[in-house]
Amino acid sequence: MSVAEKSKSYRAVIQECIEALGKEHNPSAQHQQLLDVVTEGHKILWFCEALYFVDESKDSALSLLRDWLRVHDDGVDQAVQSYLDGGDDTQFWQVVSRLAAIGRRDDATELVQTRIQNVDSRAMGAAALGDASSSEPIYVAEAALLDAPPDTAEARLDGQFRVWQEECIATLEALEVKSGDDHLGLLLGVLGGQPSALQKSCRSWEELFVAGYLYTRLGGDPADRRKRSFEIASAFQPTHKALLALADSNPPEAIVVLARPGEYFYSAHLADLRSDSVELLLTNSFSEHQLDLYMVPANDQKSLRDYFVSEYALSLETLRGTVQLSADYLLSCGSRGEEILTDILCRMETQSAADPAVEKVFALSKRLSPKHSEVVVRKICTRLASNCAAIGNSAGATYWFTRANDAERAVAQAEASLTSAEIGGCHSAGAEALDRTAEAISVCDNAQIQEKLDYLRMYSELQASLINADEESSAARDAASSASALLGANGGLPEAHWGVVVYDCASILLPSAEASAEAKLIGIGKDETYSLLKALETVSASTGAHRDSLLEGLRQRNITADPEQLLSTVRLKLMRNLALCILSEN
């Protein structure tokens, strides 16, 4: 896509907005102000496109500039018609000066020559009456207009235009000494590029801008040109000053001047266009004040464009729904833009998992580089996990810590859930919470953590089996099988929980009965019994603080009972069961 096409695309969007805004019936003052801003911005972009992007030839730019003004006509033709319909002398000179100022010197000349014909007719009569002096100013005007060199860039650059302008000024000075003819003086001042004359002749800032461009920009002494630019610019709004800067081939200044806090749209897009067409360098034409305002690295040629585009993006970000537009702009600003976008996404309000903003942030984060995307996901998921943990939702906390790839905290939450289930038993709310936590781990799609916490799933299955183990032998066998797997070499269940697992499984076994009755109701198979006994002996063989930690679960589960006594009871049950298993085999 060429720069011209890009510029046309920008302007087409703005034109749509102008049309849409223009349809409002009874617009408020704020609405009208918005329309004015958008309309002016459209003019600026169009001017920039005409001057810099469509054709490199300055001649073409000059003609396009006049055409641009013709589109934004402010009543010049009506003024001409009004004069032709019976205007007076003052009107004549005003119209001629205005036409000359906006580059329509041919029209101005034609008007002057038409009047000369009329004056000549009268002069012949007046001469007959002895009065021949009334036509002098108009002949001077005609001569000045006809002496003008071709209205081309070449004539301006090679000095012809400047010479002619100096002659106009010299004539003006002579006239001022002589007759103080204000009307002719105004026209000569316009042709000579006097800022005050240009300001008096023009009726709108667009006309003044074109006049300033035609008569003060190309050719001549740069210092003098600059001085006259400042004089004209003093009458302009900041928006218009930007145009002057553009016309003065100083795009950075134009871009900076256009920027106002919260209104970076035009600076951003103009800078974007300019950075595509020519190198956007910081020049010495920046005033110190402007450089203070915008501290951009002087060596980074792109930074001015990136700066304003990112500033515009940040202004969009304050509107909650348009953050994805901000993302579009920021992602065009390289690594710095990506960092800003990462920061924006990390700061977005996402306290609740039910908030659609969470999914929207995740979707936007996928547009970032993997490193930045991970930062955003981690930040949001950690925040959600912390919220879940704060209200006791261990399943949610585990899930979000897992999504955040924070294995340590996910495991900690899972462990807390398991401990709660262990203390409460298989019928407790803790067991239900553990079940949900196990489900959360299974759906979070993190193989590493799923593998690490697989024992949680098995423990949850164990507890589910224990619920019906008293009544269903199949449930009892499932519970024993789960326990055996948990306590095995690859089970993964921390030793701190072995005691309670063994105790729960042993609880399946009947406390005491006749041997024959028990033989018919063996709840746990030989191998599983043996596994439980081995785990029991590991717990029993421990000493000191380690033993205390292994027995803590039993202590929490059975507050009134002595853990040592519980271990003895469990051992007895398991030994009896093992004996029954061996006997039944034989």
Binding site: G321, L325, P356, E359
Partner: protein, 401 residues
């Protein structure tokens, strides 16, 4: 594809063929993309679009010579999250989701003599996550809020009353009106509550019903409702059995699938529909196994709302983050004779999918169709409330399988 054609057609018309007095020969061409997007420019125009745009009211009907309803847009100034039609008259209720204190609201827009206009507004404490029209009084709306409360908005009084809520820290993710007096609320952390609308007393509660989190809730019958979870599970709750455990669980078998919205066919409540985070609309038949009977992915991005059109059998609306609003005609698909037992299980093709959102917009967060007509209302991240008609649509490009 459809939106690109629309944008190009409208902007080419503006740029090329219409000239003001004194305008010079135009050198402008067609729209080209900015910032990498293929379809349309970004920035100001992307937000507003070439629509009949107005800050205030406007006629809903007859904007074109033929009398067809064309798209109408109202700009609200705040991100709109939910919209529901009230069944009395032509009133639409919207809820915002700015999240700043004092910035959110519930508004009622009504189509009156002077066109669509704002009728009522009520400040809402927190983001509005869900709206549900009550069953007894069809002129009132239940609002689920990010502050954990479920409130009743009484349109006749333009006032809001608290109905119930969840413990601090848990948002009210969804609400379902079960009967004239009862409503079910679903909390963002998985809590469930059935509450009396008038007294605010909870007749049943359960903490952590779906531990990871709930995104939406929908009524099935007067005794049961469904919740859609972040975990990819749909939990069905029967109030007669208590809330100790779901009466049934349905599952979407994709890893890390998040179900974002849910609705059911009121006439055949065994059919449940959900929208997912990957642009899919999924259908379950509760009489069969836990897995879906169909899944189609026409959206490019999250599906934020699905609505079964109860007045039109076999038709469904969906909307999503891609800015599209789609109408689904399962009945037409079934009539193609592909062996579907019932029309909801028919295989959808592009022929049965139509695009209703004809303008350029950001994400569409909610959609609803008027119970007695063709009017469709939808709300967007562009802060707009849009109205269109079921007849005002374009056929989609072929669906990517």
């Amino acid at each position: 594809m459809a939106r690109k054609r629309t944008a190009t057609r409208m902007l080419a018309k503006q740029a090329g063929s219409e000239r003001k007095q004194g305008e010079v020969e135009s050198k402008f061409g067609e729209i080209v993309s900015l910032s990498g997007r293929k379809e349309e420019p970004v920035g100001l125009g992307s937000a507003l679009g070439p629509l009949n745009w107005t800050e205030g009211g406007g006629d809903l009907m007859s904007d074109s010579p033929s009398g067809d309803v064309v798209e109408k847009v109202l700009f609200s100034g705040k991100v709109l999250a939910t919209v529901r039609w009230l069944e009395s008259g032509s009133s639409a209720v919207v809820g915002s989701s700015e999240g700043e204190p004092g910035e959110d609201f519930v508004r009622v827009y009504e189509d009156g003599n002077n066109g669509i206009d704002l009728k009522h507004e009520c400040v809402h404490p927190g983001k509005v996550f869900d709206l549900e029209v009550t069953i007894g009084d069809r002129n009132s709306v239940l609002c689920a809020s990010s502050d954990g409360m479920v409130r009743l908005y009484l349109n006749s009084k333009s006032a809001m009353e608290r109905v119930g809520g969840f413990p601090q820290g848990e948002a009210a993710a969804g609400v379902a009106a079960l009967s004239e007096r009862t409503a079910a609320g679903a909390g963002s952390e998985g809590s469930i509550a059935v509450m009396d609308i008038e007294t605010g007393v909870a007749s049943a509660e359960r903490a952590g019903g779906d531990g990871i989190g709930i995104r939406a809730a929908s009524r099935l019958t007067s005794d049961d409702f469904a919740t859609a979870g972040i975990s990819g599970f749909v939990s069905l709750w029967d109030c007669r059995q208590g809330l100790s455990a779901p009466s049934q669980r349905l599952r979407y078998p994709r890893s890390r699938a998040a179900l974002l919205c849910i609705d059911a066919d009121r006439a055949q409540t065994h059919y449940v529909f959900c929208g997912t985070d990957m642009g899919e609309v999924v259908c379950w038949d509760r009489r069969k196994e836990e897995f879906p009977v169909s899944s189609t992915a026409p959206h490019n991005g999250q599906v934020w709302d699905v609505r079964v059109m109860n007045s039109r059998p076999g038709m469904l609306l969906s909307c999503g983050e891609d800015g599209s609003v789609l109408s689904w005609d399962f009945l037409q698909a079934a009539q193609r004779g592909v062996g579907a037992e019932e029309y909801w299980t028919a295989e959808m093709t592009a022929a049965e999918l139509k695009q209703l959102a004809l303008g350029k917009t950001l994400g569409v967060n909610a959609v609803d169709v008027h119970a007695k007509g063709d009017l469709v209302a939808y709300v967007t991240d562009s802060s707009t409330l849009c109205f269109t008609s079921l007849t005002n649509s374009e056929r989609l490009a072929p669906i990517e399988e």
